[in-house]
Amino acid sequence: MARQETSDTVAGGLGRHIKAATEIPFVRRWLAAQPFWVAVAVVLICAVMSWLEPDSFPTRDNFFNITRNFAYIGIMALGMMAVIITGGIDLSVGSVMGLTGIVCGLVLQAGHSWWLAVLAGLGAGALCGLVNGVFVAYVGLPSFVVTLGMLAAARSFAVVLSENKMIYEFGPDGDVFTAIGGGEIAGVSNMVWLLLAMTVVFGFVFRFTRWGRHVYAVGGNEAAARLAGVAVNRIKLQTYTLCALTSAIAAIMVVGWQGSAINALGTGYELRVIASTVIGGANLMGGEGGAFGAFIGATLIEVIRNSLLMAGIDSNWQGAFVGAFIVLAVLLQRIRGSRAD
């Protein structure tokens, strides 16, 4: 009974609902979940780093930097999470980000308003996602192949459109645009606030809506979902579109923050984004994952990267650590999975 009361105080009225729905105490469910342990790791690393580097790590500036640096990866990881839960993968997120950034830059450079730039960026992203989704869901090609193609194609469009130049003269509405991505509220970057809001929305959608339930069903057993009457193809199309849209949102924010658009924006980000979701508990075979996992996975990677820099380790080692963490995360899932069976 004591445990139930704790869970109610933790999650308020929601806690009671979740408990009734699953009959497994809220706290115990958390303890069994990978995102919880990743969060513990984040706290531990931060504690150790604050002790080792009291002058540089636990500072306001560093907090601002870390949170902003994982915010755009986290935003993309939320969309990637939806695709991975259905059992697919989207390798094109970095290139879609690059293309979107260039589209936004060009619209601004032409003297159009900031909202047109935002809409054009979202439109470009959505279009890439629709193409991915149609080929995966309706033509039936493997997501790996389709999005690998988009990885190449979207980057190429970005280079062609930009005529391989940096775009930094943003026209009359450039100030508003850069204020969106580069601004801050209460000492925290806008991007971080956006990530927080999106994590809550995605978490709600995954857990409480019919659409979310169907996304998990597609990843759990696509044939079964289809037989039950789930609109499998439509769900897949929507997840790829959503994933590309989150890349577009990330691009809009990053271009605003940096005040310029380059066609190389987002190169190699697919690895960091996918790593975030996997570290946060997504199963690459589909069916498992959640919004908080995407958030905390992105956080862990950035905290580790920042810690390495602080510890004076060459930042080129980051890839080795990220790679090791992906394998470790999948290994952990395997171990937990075999125990469950």
């Binding site: 609902h17 009734a20 729905a21 699953t22 009959e23 497994i24 409480f208 809506t209 019919r210 339930r213 169907h214 998990y216 069903a217 990843g219 759990g220 057993n221 044939a223 079964a224 979902a225 037989l227 039950a228 009457g229 789930v230 069916g287 498992e288 469950a340 069976d341």
Partner: protein, 246 residues
């Protein structure tokens, strides 16, 4: 009146004649064992009833009215449910989420509607109780035994108030102890007035629960008789062709 009546059903796939002139009737509250060797046409017949494809010739009457199914959804809407051999369940979801998949209960109003897991769990608990199965609604299917999975799959058909349940090899992939559990589930369905078609290779199971037996061989119906007038030996002979018909 028969719940389902098939008259002169034939099905060709190119030059291959999978079914020829098969008549088949099904009454409420009976279990019909459908037997035959691989390629005898069992699954073709089931797929026609389930709406996977239309017959090349013949008519299908549901409660006296002619029906034409173009998609499995049509058959399901008419009250025909299929429980598949490979147990079409999502392992990552709970039992009640599987029972209610694609027909979830929602709460809220207007566009602000969320999943009503509590109501779904309660209803699923009732369905499992009716089936006398010890399946927990909120447990993930991944953690369940073969018998419990069958209960989940059958509860799905129950939920939709199906009139006819087609069971494709329900006892093929589970342990001996669970077979008894599944056969009990079938008896529950019969008690509730449903018509059940049991497609099975396992002679003892069919003779245990079925009221009537239908045997197909090379696309032809070679037997259709009450189970008490038959014997496993006779059915084996009919399946292999040692006995021409009965």
């Amino acid at each position: 009146m028969a719940v389902l009546e098939l008259q002169g059903i034939s099905k060709h796939f190119g030059a291959i004649e999978a079914l020829s002139q098969v008549d088949f009737t099904l009454d409420g509250g009976e279990i019909v064992g459908l037997m035959g060797d691989n390629g005898a046409g069992k699954s073709t017949l089931v797929k026609i009833m389930a709406g996977n494809f239309p017959p090349s010739a013949g008519r299908m009457m549901l409660e006296g009215r002619p029906v034409h199914f173009h998609k499995p959804v049509d058959a399901r809407a008419a009250g025909i449910e299929v429980v598949y051999q490979d147990l079409a369940l999502c392992n990552n979801l709970t039992a009640s989420a599987n029972v209610f998949l694609a027909r979830e209960k929602m709460r809220g109003f207007g566009p602000f509607r969320i999943l009503d897991d509590r109501a779904m769990n309660e209803r699923a608990r009732e369905l499992f109780a009716e089936l006398k199965s010890e399946t927990l609604p909120a447990e993930k299917v991944r953690l369940m035994s073969g018998g419990q999975r069958q209960a989940v799959a059958i509860a799905r058909t129950h939920l939709s108030q199906a009139k006819i349940v087609l069971m494709d090899e329900p006892t093929a992939a589970i342990s001996v102890r669970q077979v008894a559990e599944v056969l009990d589930l079938l008896r529950r369905l019969r008690e509730q007035g449903m018509a059940v078609v049991l497609i099975s290779h396992r002679m003892p199971d069919v003779f245990d629960v079925a009221d009537r037996i239908v045997v197909l061989r090379r696309g032809h119906k070679v037997a259709d008789k009450p189970i008490r007038d038959s014997s496993p030996e006779e059915v084996t002979g009919l399946i292999t062709g040692a006995i021409r018909d009965a």
